[in-house]
Amino acid sequence: MKKTRGEKILTFLFILPSVILIAVFVYGFIGWTGWISLTKWKDVVPDFTFVGFKNYIDLFHNLRFQIGLKNILVFTVLFLVVSIAIGLLLAILLDRKVRFENVFRSIYLFPMAISFIVTGVVWRWMLNPGTATTGSLGINMLLDKIGLGFLKSGWYTDPNVGIKAVVIPAVWQMSGYVMAMYLAGIRGIPQELSEAAQVDGASNWQVYRYIILPLLQPITLGAVIILTHISLKIFDLVVAMTGAGVGFSCDVPALFMYDTTFRGNFFAQGAAIATILLIFVAILIIPYLRHGLREGS
């Protein structure tokens, strides 16, 4: 059915308010932040003198920012790999028609419903290594009790571990979500395919390796995108759990952005960090969106 001219105008009028709101409050402010990052605003009173890319150049010379970038890279890679591995494993196990599947599914999915702040506080206590005064605490105490004392670590208080300790709660929280995605994906694959393979004499392993996994590729891509953008933006978990850590071993760019903007009043520098983070996320998301749009049309 072809739309009449009147209908077209009506449709346009209906989406107009949201278009305006998004244009102003999303893209408008992104543009505003980008503009501020090119000024020398470093006081509570704005100063819009144009300085070009000076803030960006200064940032890449800033040791704290360099450490933060390295940390976010380590964090993202570990978080992605481990979450996807655990998520996939859980999904495959649940797909084996276990009893009480619903119960297990809910248990694995529940952590996702909790705010990162809560997760951060709880894991700060659990990963508190304890001291000479208190003896081992939390996870370290558990390791002691089950005879794995050699695995004890200073966790986030040890500059050599630092941000890697933050990966643990992040994985704990998000791998259930990855599992749900994969489970839906596996259930969406027609049974006939694996049955046909089994008739041809394929082992279970071969069915997963050559049929299920390749067909799950779009899911993996989706999981990578979602997890990476969560990871690049990570802030609340780090604030609640560790802060910047010894010698910034737990620091991330988002935390630096908050610090420099609201403690140091370096609004332009904060805006530059925000812009860099946006660019990172965009590099990742835009190809995905284009891919998705092309498939949709």
Binding site: V44, V45, R64, P159, F248, S249, F262, G264
Partner: protein, 417 residues
């Protein structure tokens, strides 16, 4: 039928809105007081002020707007968004000195309080040192409620007595004592660095020790260069001190680390005199105090104050609150709980404990220098970057790199090197 339903819904919404505004306008009046005092002695001190205010102005409702977080880290972020967004609290806590002047006064967010200072007679009862750090261009801009000393070395008396030690006067003595204690399996210097500012606080006092009062104050005005050999010496000393610190310092805030001293596992700590309030709240009294080595006769000071932001909604109520804050009664009530000393010099000293009495004496005769980590000496941007450099130094003690970074940070803050 349908239409009338819609109409009645609309009418009831309007009614609710009207009632809301009515109720709002009928309120006798409020005052919103913004601070980061949520812990132990400080919250009680604030409450003591509220009690006095309530007694004098029973009709006014106090809105206690606190944002928790050590040294006001999170409170300041909330405050900034509110001030810049044109929704200032009626009055807010701010460190007297550069934090007040550079962040809020020079930028035109505050109203001067000179008339109030004169009519209440505060100019006569507050010492010049404190009046200086709340003034700018001949006006007074905030009412100081207390004074804290930052350069104090706290020690466990029992440990010192058991080992036949005397508190150190110089850093040579300090390291000698530290070696002896380490042999005994006692942590010589306790520190908690979780919040990021504690190490820089200790370093600030070492700077004072190595540069003297004048040299240290000059660092923040440009009279002393950051490339000065005194700064190198301070970094060397601090580097050595860090080797005597409890290795798990990153897991603790400053107060959690002082558990070591209370438990007799740690011997000494360098921190401001909020430690006294903390020890009292833990019912621990067997502690001793001396100025940080080589800083005797120098008082590293900071002060909390409250001001009057332009465009606040309840101006008269704020003026009345500031009057309570500056009054003898208010200062006594607050500081008894907080562990600091009053900004006024005419208070009844017998009300206060031994520690506070000794600080009051020092306050009168010592040379006063402004604390940097607590907002008195330098603008917030400089403090933040200074803190970051020292934070890194604790993990990567490279003296040359750090001193260069300190020079750069000073240049960025607009102080020529």
């Amino acid at each position: 039928m349908k239409r009338s339903k819609g109409l009645s819904l609309l009418l009831s919404v309007l009614l609710v809105l009207a009632l809301g505004t009515l109720a709002f306008s009928q309120e006798k009046g409020t005052i919103e007081i913004f601070s980061w005092w949520t812990a132990g002695g400080e919250a009680e001190g604030l409450q003591a002020l509220f009690d006095i205010y309530n007694r004098l102005y029973p009709d006014i409702e106090i809105i206690n707007a606190t944002v928790a977080g050590g040294a006001g880290a999170h409170a300041k972020a909330v405050l900034k968004t509110r001030m810049l967004g044109g929704d200032p609290p009626d009055t807010f806590q701010v460190h007297a000195g550069k934090e007040l002047i550079d962040t809020w006064v020079k930028t035109g967010f505050m109203e001067p309080l000179t008339d109030l200072f004169q009519s209440e007679g505060w100019v006569d009862v507050m010492p010049q040192g404190i009046l200086d750090i709340v003034s700018y261009e001949g006006d007074y801009w905030s009412v100081p409620v207390n004074i804290h000393r930052a350069n104090v070395l706290w020690y466990n008396k029992q440990i010192f007595a058991d080992n036949g030690l005397n508190p150190p006067q110089t850093f040579d003595e300090f390291f000698e004592i530290a070696d002896k204690l380490q042999e005994q399996g006692i942590i010589p210097l306790t520190m908690g660095t979780k919040d990021g500012w504690e190490a820089a606080h200790v370093f600030e006092t070492v700077l004072i020790a190595k540069l003297g009062a004048e040299g240290y104050s000059g660092l923040w005005t440009g009279e002393t260069k950051w490339s000065d050999p005194g700064v190198t010496e301070a970094l060397e000393t601090f580097k050595k001190m860090v080797t005597y610190v409890n290795p798990d310092h990153a897991a603790f805030t400053w107060d959690e680390a002082y558990e070591y001293i209370i438990d007799g596992k740690g011997a000494m700590g360098i921190m401001g005199d909020w430690v006294a309030g903390y020890f009292f709240s833990k019912e621990y009294t067997d502690f001793g105090w001396v100025p940080v080595p080589e800083t005797a006769g120098i008082f590293d000071a900071l002060s909390d104050s409250f001001g009057l932001p332009k465009g606040c909604k309840n101006r008269d109520n704020v003026i009345n609150f500031l009057k309570v804050l500056g009054s003898k009664e208010g200062q006594e009530a607050f500081n008894l709980k907080k562990g600091s000393i009053p900004a006024r010099t005419d208070v009844d000293r017998d009300l206060f404990g031994d520690y506070q009495k000794s600080v009051m004496e020092d306050w009168e005769k010592d040379v006063i220098v402004p604390s940097v980590m607590h907002g008195a000496a330098a603008a917030e941007g400089w403090v933040t970057e200074f803190k970051d450099v020292i934070s890194l130094f604790v993990a990567r003690p490279d003296i040359e790199v750090t001193q260069k970074a300190l020079v750069q940070v000073a240049e960025r803050a607009g102080v020529a090197q």
